[in-house]
Symmetry: D2
Subunit: 338 residues, 4 copies
């Protein structure tokens, strides 16, 4: 199937190659010519501009956008006058699902189709395949199926769920038409919200393990420091890397994220390469906002998000307020950082 | 290797079979004769009492306790006078690691050895193997290695961590000597704490997905109900089972717990078999208490624990206090349950 | 000063009386004639319709809306054609501050002025006065000052902050021009968010005190129930009402909300009149959404909101997911409700 | 009434003066003579040693310990051989209630009495009085009543709770016999747990207000930064000090802690004197541990505690784990601190 790919970053380039490797004809475009040149190989043609890209595609065209969420609307503004009724635009990036709803409506007025495809798999997707969560019109999604089949990991990526007998289901191949416009990014948004929670659960647990030797440490004795009541209970020097490795086999908490953690701890046991300032892309935030709007309690997912905010110092002023109150009622002075 | 197994519940019976299947000689004991009879097969001998069990084992004996945490001390009280110096007792259940420290010290006075083995894998362990987290004396753990090798899942249970070159490590086989007495159950405790967090992350995310159609519902209009500002953003009827299935392939959040979730949603899409009252065994609680003692922030793991407490109604009185205050300052009356 | 009050519920009626009592001329309107009649007294004139209300006010008119947030826009639609350039509309209800921004812009095109006034004080405001958080144009707020002075509690409502020397400040009288349109409701929104957090802190603490006798209770002994390790530490039958009362004097946590709690516990020591299903008006939700947008961590305020969601059963499906997983990996069956 | 005070820090010295001012005879002891000399005045006698202190008191002696929790046991070890049957020891510091239970039992064997008195009021207690939460034997508490009456704030410290008709209750004077040994410190522990929650609620709310101008700021545009969707909604420069001041009058969230906050913001509007590293004394921790043991959900109180842990960098390793995972699956690099 022919496809035009717009945006050739980490994700887009790998997707082009995975598609071409499976026989699809890809026309690739990015803003910088060298980026385009870097992806060229059998089955991949380059385009020098959006106009060039559009001209190289047969109608009904299929265009896959793999650009930052903030660049989608401006790209669409350029594209729209170049396209013909019946053309299909896919947003495979990290757009807010509410933008999908708006965009689909606007494109529909021009007889253009829009599909939103939440794409999980990160930089490993070229080999591992991409989990695709798709929103849009049913027949359009059906039309695009050959692309999804190629990009998705396929049946073999996981053992069959016992007793499942849904031979027509695409979910077992790793892609799913979730619902109308926005449904794909909605499901991907929640996927990322869950991801934050799972990551945070491992992180907190490893932090407890790391401090299991706190009873061996000298502790300051002053009114601002809580004494450890039972230092004899915290005398363990645990090897986090080996623990992550052992959990990978047979434990209840084995997962791909644990695999990555074991990998990271193997290469850098104290994780010294990192400061602990954790970014958040939008999905974690939007997940919380959606839950709040729905009236659904999400104490875990929100704690995971706020942990990231705090890691970047965004809660420091709150700490100042607390210290100011403590000085006010108890004459407590802050202890300096060690 | 010869081993005496005490306690033949879901876990103990499966472990006996896995051991016998691999050539170990098992003497099995449980309080009820029919329980003992039910596990008998090639390589498994029954015992009619703890005395009988002890008499059938050669010294130095190896006894593996697989009984409820609350029954360990009373079992040890009966066992101790029957044993000989050099015998080894393994607690493979869910004991609090602080009890391990105490027990190991007491047994040491009698020249008895003690190993604590946190055992993960649940009812699937017979086929899948058990992830074993072990605390105790180094040479004792070394001595018991043949048992651990059999019980653990083995190398093939997970793909090798890239670049890992530790051929002597047991972690890759699925068991690990974590440290001195209590270290095994400490690591298992934190494992369960993490488990709670991961489970809760999936649960909250699925709850958001399930309510993605809230904009379609009629909403009451009264001062006690927050209006939904944008009902057009919540019009999705999502198929949770298919979503869980698609996430199993290629997504960042694939895991064994997700596999189980897909399985559960396949068999009971609305999970009608459950009321949502979630029990907690002790480890989640002890994890929080350990974190608090260490001064380690665990907002996610604690949220997961408290979610379970609340699901059993333990927070209802808090709700009454809130409603009473609202009545006090605003004349708000509680809305009845639907 | 002359003022037209639209909406005569708990809040509106009391505000009319407080204004009239201080010499302002009030024209009062509500949809039902009997509601209007019920507020009539010296200084209060009734209106039979919005047209009648507008006709009874001298220009530039001052109209104060005290209607549900959901009714503001429809009320404005009726009012707008009746008004004259220079007239002032005040929204004293619980509008979302983003609606204020939009409305102020729309009204400005018609040369109408808009002020948003977050009003705290509840049903006690008639005697206690109202804390007023105001957004809008500076000169309009200045023009309305006589109304604010009457409605606010006044200096004597709190002891002076030591060293404060701001004789011109209105804050010490209980009203504040916070900023441009929306600023009043923004500050009120956060006020309510904080209110949720404080209420929840008391509620959780009282729940701990109430369960301080848990060591006296019989506990079930089964694999799904965590045993209490130290029952001797939980043998207290505490009198919550007396504790709330004693905290009112000299403690760090004395507050008006504590006063209300002591009052409620006095009248209903077990709070049997309440089921614990806690409503939330919109402000708590909007507070979280604003924090998320700002990137500010709010673990406490969000926990307070989610506690309310859970109290209404909105987290039950999450619990079902957890129970389903536990059944899946451990064969655990849910315990029935007692 | 005659009383021996041991420990003359911020709290102890003020209590001696408040007692002496009301006619009680105080014998005061601290480790350093100059500390003792500094508290001497009418009604206050100094002691040069614990022996000297004991010798100056008539039997049955009343000794009030106002020393760090960590120093109580060692002080009792010195005192015990000096005392006579019937003497009374009061621990007015911040002991763990479980230590009270143990100490009371040990002292009872020597026919000594023990009362635990949780004391709230901080450095303001001399003028404001102390809220006293008392545990111990009923007749001993009754015997000590004259001291409690003097130390407590008295009826006038709060308006009467409407409809309350309990003329014999001490709670209205500001002290309360909560129950047997440990009950006083248990209630004080929970008081502090609540205090953390309330403080955190204000802190988070003020942090949201402070960032209400985030839409005015330049934002970095990169894949690691979430764009602000609606900058026009965050254009407020709010005056936190004036807002705290206005909330003191008529709002639902007026409290003593708010008074202190207004005071702090008046003197240091940006709270530049503080770094935001917040200490925690033990009570907040013990509160969470007690709640966990009771099975009571405390999402707010725990969030408040963990916020403090994080403010001191105790969560930094968790952040490193998260960053390492993000690098692993998405090639994300950490953004440097600004």
């Amino acid at each position: 199937m022919q496809i035009g790919m717009i945006g050739l970053g980490r994700m887009g380039a790998n997707m082009v190659w995975r598609l071409a490797r499976d026989g699809h004809q890809c026309v690739a475009y990015a803003r910088h010519a060298e980026t385009v040149n870097a992806v060229l190989r059998d089955g991949v043609t380059g385009a020098s501009s959006l106009e060039d890209l559009v001209s190289k595609l047969e109608t009904p065209r299929v265009l896959w956008l793999m650009v930052p969420a903030a660049a989608v609307d401006s790209t669409l503004d350029v594209l729209k006058p170049l396209l013909s009724p019946g053309d299909i635009i896919i947003d495979g990036g990290n757009s807010h699902y509410q933008d999908d709803i708006r965009r689909a409506e606007q494109l529909k007025e021009m007889q253009l189709h829009y599909a939103d495809v939440g794409t999980s798999g990160g930089t490993h997707g070229l080999e591992r395949g991409y989990c695709l969560m798709i929103g849009g019109e049913k027949d359009i999604v059906e039309h695009l199926k050959p692309l999804f089949v190629t990009l998705a990991p396929g049946h073999a990526a996981a053992a069959p769920t016992p007793g499942r007998d849904k031979p027509d289901s695409s979910a077992e191949q790793g892609f799913l038409h979730c619902g109308p416009s926005g449904a794909g990014h909605f499901v991907k948004m929640v996927h990322n919200g869950i991801e934050y929670g799972i990551m945070g659960a491992y992180a907190e647990g490893l932090n407890i393990l790391r401090n299991a030797n706190i009873g061996k440490l000298e502790h300051e004795v002053d009114a601002e420091t809580t004494p450890l009541r039972n230092p004899e209970h915290f005398q363990y020097d645990l090897d986090l890397g080996e623990i992550a490795e052992v959990w990978r086999r047979g434990s209840v908490i084995s997962s791909w994220l644990l695999d990555l953690t074991a990998d990271a701890l193997l290469k850098d046991p104290q994780l010294d390469a990192f400061a602990g300032r954790v970014s958040d892309s939008g999905e974690g935030r939007w997940t919380i906002n959606a839950a709040v709007d729905e009236g659904v309690p999400v104490p875990i997912l929100s704690a995971a998000l706020f942990q990231r905010f705090s890691s970047r110092g965004n809660g420091d002023f709150s700490g100042k307020v607390l210290s100011a109150m403590r000085a006010g009622f108890g004459g407590h002075a802050e202890k300096p950082a060690k």
